[in-house]
Structure formats: C-alpha cells, structure tokens
C-alpha cells in the first residue's frame, strides 16, 4: 500500500483511486451490517457473486458488502448504482431476476420496492423512501457507499481530508478552538461539551495523554455506535487521530463491547490499513506527529460504559467506577489526562474540520448543535437508525420518519436515554429533541435509544424492567445502588404481580431519592429516572395495579387471564395444538376451553387464533367467566341450522 507523506499526496492518491473507477459501472451494494446479516445478507451477497460469475458479468459489475444504512426492519437492503435503485428484504432467490432485469435491462423489479403504507406509493430510490426523506444524514450517509473493509472506498469519499487539513494547516490549538466553537456535545449521554473536555486535557501539565473511543454501547435498544463502527470505522479513527493531535496524545484506545464481534473485526482492520498508508503511526503526513491506536474488548459489563469504570477495565481490572473528585480528563487512564468520547462524537469531528464550526452550528437548537443518530425501535412501523437535526420534534421522528404505530394501535410513550432515561407521554410529543429539552421533561438524550411503546406496554413493568436491568448491572461498590435498587426492584416486581400495597409508591420515591443523591456513579444516580418519569406521567397505572389489582395494558402476567369467547370460537383447534402447556381442551365442533390452572399465560393461543375469529381475549381485574359446558359448548355450524 502506498505511504502518504503529505496531504498533497493524499489528494493525489484519492484522484488516482477515482480515476480508476468508472462512475457509470454498475455496482451492487448490499448491507453487511449485523441486522441485515441476521436477516440473511451474507447468503444474498454470495448469491450475487455466483450469479454475476454465472452470467459472465464479473468484469462489468461490482458487488460490495457495506455498512448499515439504517433501515434494518426491511433488511437485507440492496442498492444498485449508478441508478441508486433500492430493494428491500431481498432474498437469494430474487438475485437472478435483479441481475437480468435491473442490471442488464435497466428495469425495476416492482415487488422489491418500498411501499409507503400510508399512501401506497412505491419508492424506487433510497431518497424517495419516507423513512429517509425526513432525515438529515451527515454521519451515517456514507455507510451504504462504503465497503467497511476497504480504505479506498473511504478515501474515494473524501476520507482523511480533515486529518490532512488539521495536520497540514492547523495548529493543535486551532483544531481545539474549532471543535469548541462548534459546541459539539458528547453523544454518549450526558452531553458534556467535547471541546471543553479536550481543553482540560490539553492544559493539564502531564506530558503523557490518552484519547479513548467509548464503544461499549450497552444501552438496550441502542445500536447506532455499532452501525458507525462497523460500517464506517475510518470516520471514527480519523476523528480520534484529530482529537489526539489537538490535545497532544500519542496513544488512543478503542474500547468495544465483546457482543459486537464485527465491529472489533472492522476497526482492527481499519487500524492496520491506516497504518499501512501512513495515516497512523510515526510522523503522520510528515508533520512530526506520532499516534498509535489499540483495540480493547469489553467482557459484558454495562457499568464499563461509565468513563472511570471503562478506564479501569482497560487497565486490566474489574470495571468498578471511582469517585470523580478529579475529572478523568486531568487524571484518567494510568493516572494521565484522558479524553473519552463515544463513537458518534468522534465521528462528528472530521465533519466539523472539513465543513467548519459555522456549518455545524447552523444545524440544531440554541444549546444542542448538529445531528444525532437515534435508534428507533419497539412498537413502530419503520424500525432502524435515524439521523436527524437536533430540534426536530418527537412527533416528527415517531410519525413522519417512523411511520407511526403498527397494527392500528395507539401510541403511549417513547422511552429515551436508555435505562438512565425516562418515558415521554403523548402530551409532550411536540417537544423539540435536544439535550436540555429532554432533561427538562424528566428524560435524557442518553446514547440515543428511542423505544416506542403502544397501548399494550405496561408502564409499571417498563420501570421494573429498567430497575431490574440496573440492579443486575450494578458493580456493587456502593450501598445506595447495590441495595437500594434491589429493594426498588422487589417492590416494583411485587406491584406487577398484584401484591402491591398502600405506601409502596411513597417508599419507592424515598429509595429513588436516596439513590439519586448518594450513589457513586451515574449508573446509580440515574437509575430511578425510569421509575420517576413513569410515575409522573402514568401514576394511574401504578394505582390500578396496587388498588384494583388490574393491569390496564393487559400485560402483567400475574394480573391477566386468557379466555376464549364461546361466541367467536369456531373450533379450529389451532390453539389446542399450539398450546405448549397442554392447557386447552377442544374437539370437533366444540368450543375450546382454557384450563386456568394449567395456563402459563404465554399468549400462544392469543397469537395463533386466526384474526377472522379473534376468539381469544385477555382480561384483567375482572373474574374469569366460568367455562361453557355441556350442550352450550357445541358449535352449531351455519349450514346445519335449518
């Protein structure tokens, strides 16, 4: 690989790559991100390669496995260049048709296009799809254009030009000032201004400094860091090198979750490629700046996403947090000043250097600038990653981009900020999304998980879920977190089981306050948020559970029962066959009956009952009607009546 000794050589090399490429040559991009791989993308890639070979097109058509473009719900996603035709949910058996129709004949295969559920219109191009149309994609826009394992693709798309600019014509202080001016706030959760953090490290007298990428994305329901690191690893690396240069660090670490093997693979490869090109290592671009990067894997501990715990883990010990009397940007990894930012924050840095702080601050709200990637998941039609400008309303995200709630259900709440965040009810849907706005509503930005809940989601159970999650993940070092959360979990579990009593809510509030005040790290301090916000907006649900022993969302297992409506049952016996507990009795022309003693409330009967019968019902807070018996159980078929 060519070693690039100056920004000019980089530019020359880029032109060379571009001159070798024919922009009109057909190229089939298939998303090879984890979501699409789970839906069978690797088989689709293999099928394309085999078919291209078979039809003798190897010289005229390219294929590439790319990063995640975000629309995971409809994966595997295939985009065909140069026309940018986008096909969704492509299966290996669709491949011959795509090659013969679209690549050879330039015809569109209708059935693989996105159909707008609201208008019924078909979208041929990626940018025509409503899910993409309302986004502003700066960080993840290149994912579908880049083979994440090939540095040439990143270079062809302008990669490392920001590094060239920073090292070639800016002093470290100028870089720092630009990031400060852009008011880039940390995308990992708390929203601390990155430039201020960098400045603290730069000004610390210790000559040994470190920079770290926090890729320990442990928030359940969030996967944007995974997509960026897997799909466009060089963008994170470039940001990290620039950051290292700005603060005067010579070493950087990338701390990746063990659960993300593909991200580990791609970033390790990216480091090797960057080193081979001279973009990393000794004397980068002949500037005299030396910088090395190492990859460290986590081992499945959520608390290691906390900065001090993460550093302890890199040092090779159990990842327990420490009190932050001194910030880690002054005393961090091995006692040296350390700047730790998350994946998305680093990936924004090259954009700021390339396009300038003024461009960056032109997007967003007064206090939150730029765009933010959210993972829009849960009970929503278009699940996936969305990148939007700060300040967009939650309503626009959920309904315009997300396509609303599937199955004709009613929207109930959106949970943001992961286990440290809170639930936002329908009445606040017009809230503009920004760090401070979400905090004011009792939630937070967090790393950007956005979980949409419909009427079937029980909010008490949701609070219990998060508290339980954090109880399991607590490192156990401080009492309010270790013991306090355990008690909150016990009480919330009791309430969802219908065993709640008077005074439970008050006790929970007291425990929440103690955990907030007295916990050592942010895990404990923010752990009561899901409880407090659900109590604030959905107190009636808590009261229904405690006073009426009823779950209004018909979700808490101990408070519901499944019954079969004798009027609706047509004795198809599907439920009888599928019930894993053998709790349903039925026969030819006999109304099926659920034995409540044997029923494990798994919901299989509810799920398999054909919608045209709709005979299985969930009830809560009312007595189970006695089973029909004798003559009444016999179903009289329409034809036999006369």
């Amino acid at each position: 690989m060519t070693r690039l000794n100056s920004p000019e050589e980089l530019e020359g090399f880029r032109q060379e790559i571009l001159s070798r490429r024919d922009p009109d040559k057909p190229c089939i991009s298939i998303c090879a991100g984890s979501g699409c791989v789970a839906s069978g993308a690797l088989e689709v890639i293999a099928a394309f390669k085999a078919e291209i070979e078979k039809q003798g097109l190897a010289a005229t058509v390219d294929t590439k496995g790319t990063g995640c473009p975000g629309f995971c719900e409809r994966g595997p996603v295939v985009v065909i260049y140069p026309e940018e035709i986008c096909y969704l949910q492509v299966m290996p058996e669709d491949v011959p048709e795509i090659i013969s129709q679209t690549v050879k004949e330039k015809k569109v295969v209708d059935r693989l296009l996105y159909v707008d559920p609201a208008t019924g219109e078909k979208a041929v191009h990626e940018y025509d799809i409503s899910f993409y149309r309302n986004q502003e994609r700066n960080v993840i826009c290149n994912n579908i254009k880049i083979d994440s394992k090939n540095i040439d693709d990143y270079l062809a798309n302008g990669g490392y030009s920001a590094l060239g600019e920073a090292l070639g014509s800016m002093t470290p202080v100028e870089v720092l000032e630009e990031v400060k001016k852009a008011n880039l706030r940390g995308r990992g959760g708390a929203g601390f201004p990155a430039g201020v953090k960098w400045e603290g490290s730069r000004n610390a007298p210790d000559p040994v400094k470190y920079v770290i990428v926090n890729a320990d994305e442990g928030d359940p329901g969030a996967f944007m860091d995974r997509a960026v690191l897997e799909g466009n690893p060089h963008s994170v690396l470039e940001g990290l090198i620039i950051g290292g240069y700005a603060i005067g660090a010579q070493e950087g670490y990338i701390y990746v979750r063990h659960e993300y093997p593909l991200a580990v693979e791609n970033i390790t490869l990216a480091i090797q490629q960057a080193e081979a090109c001279g973009l990393l290592g000794e004397n980068i671009f002949g500037s005299g700046y030396n910088f090395r990067v190492f990859v460290n894997q986590g081992a499945g501990a959520f608390v290691c996403g906390e900065s001090t715990a993460l550093m302890t883990s890199i040092e090779g010990r159990a990842g327990e947090p420490r009190p932050k009397y001194v910030r880690s940007n002054v005393v961090g990894l091995w006692g040296h000043p350390t700047v730790l930012n998350n994946v998305e924050t680093w990936a924004n840095v090259p954009l700021i250097i390339n396009k300038g702080a003024d461009w960056f601050t032109s997007i967003g709200t007064e206090s939150s600038k730029g765009t933010k990637i959210f993972s829009l998941v849960g009970k929503i039609a278009n699940t996936g990653l969305v990148e939007v400008p700060m300040g967009i309303s939650l309503r626009d995200i959920v309904f315009k981009i997300g396509g609303g709630i599937p199955g004709g259900k009613k929207f109930k709440a959106v949970q943001t900020g992961g286990p440290s965040g809170g639930c936002i009810p329908e009445s606040l849907l017009d809230l503009p999304v920004g760090f401070d706005e979400l905090t004011a509503a009792g939630s937070m930005m967090g790393s950007g998980g956005m979980i949409v809940m419909d009427e079937d989601t029980c909010m008490v159970d949701t609070a219990r879920y998060f508290v339980k999650f954090l109880t399991d993940e607590s490192c156990g070092k401080c009492v309010p977190c270790r013991e306090g959360l355990r008690q909150m979990d016990n009480i919330l579990t009791r309430i969802t089981e219908g065993k709640g009593g008077e005074g439970d809510i008050e006790l929970l509030e007291a425990l929440a306050e103690t955990a907030q005040e007295a916990s050592l790290c942010a895990l404990g301090k923010s752990a009561p948020n899901p409880f407090l916000s659900t109590l604030q907006y959905f107190r009636d649900e808590y009261e229904a559970h405690i006073k009426e022993k009823r779950c209004p969302a018909l979700s808490c297992k101990e408070l519901i029962a499944y019954v079969i409506d004798p009027e609706q049952c047509r004795a198809c016996q599907l439920c009888v066959k599928k019930c894993p507990a053998g709790a349903i009795d039925g026969g030819k022309d006999l109304v099926s009956i659920i034995d409540q003693e044997k029923c494990t409330k798994c919901g299989t009967c509810f799920e398999v009952c054909p919608p045209r019968f709709n005979a299985v019902r969930k009830i809560s807070g009312e007595p189970v009607p006695p089973p029909v018996s004798g003559e009444a159980r016999k179903i009289v078929r329409g034809g036999k009546e006369s």
């Binding site: 359940p220 329901g221 894997q297 081992a299 499945g300 959520f302 990842g319 993940e473 490192c475 799920e607």
Partner: protein, 150 residues
Amino acid sequence: MDNERIDQIIEKHHGASSALIQILLDIQEENHWLPKEALDRVSEKLQVPLTTVRHAATFYKVFSTVPKGRHQVHVCLGTACHVRGANRVLDTVEEMTGIKPGETDLDLKFSLETVNCLGCCALGPVMEIDGKVYGKATPSKTIDVLKKYE
C-alpha cells in the same frame, strides 16, 4: 486446556498485566469456560494475584467459571425485544430446556444466558444460538428452533 496454549495466548498479549481481560477473553473463546487451573496459570505468568484474576473472571458476564453446554442460547432482553415480548420467548426456552439463565442442563446440551442487547433491535425479540441469530421470535417458533438442536 493445556498450559502451553495458555502461555501462547499470554505471549500474544506480550504478557502485560493490563491485558488480563483480553487474555481471559481469548481463553474463554477457545475453551468456553475458565477452569481453575487456567486462572492459576494466568495469575502466575502475569504476576497478578489470584484474587484479582478471580475478581475479573467473576465480575464480567462473558466469563464462566463452570463448564458450558454444547449449545449456547442467548435470549436478548434489550428494551426493544422486551416490549415485543422477549419474556415469553425466555419462558418458552426455560420450559423446553428445564434451565434458568446462567445454568447448563445436566446433559451439557444447552447453556442459557440472557443478554442486554445484541444490536439487532429491528428484529426483536431475538434469540441467538451458537452465534446464529433467530429474529422475530415467538413462543411457537422458539419451540421449533430448539427442537433442531441435538
């Protein structure tokens, strides 16, 4: 796992005590669990007290200090999977295998774990067996999938 192989792994990480977790990860990856003898060897070679090694081996979820089954079942309980009914999937797995999360059955066929998020939220609820992801899981589909494993 023999000492020679453990030494090779330690060598790969230059024998630095800060690489403790990376070394344990490599051993776990190959051996599926961390036997006492392996921890002893790591402690000795890295000059790290055994208590520190054991602390790390029991603190992080990926590590196991007891043998694991032939098939590792991971049920994702991330929020997205949770709101789409992951608990019902977990219940079904527990019922079919007779084990709870963290346990291995007596035939060493299945080990069951819950995970917080596999990053495949769009496909929730998700179950992963030996690295293969089964998306949009339901109790009835789960039964069919588990039956395929020997």
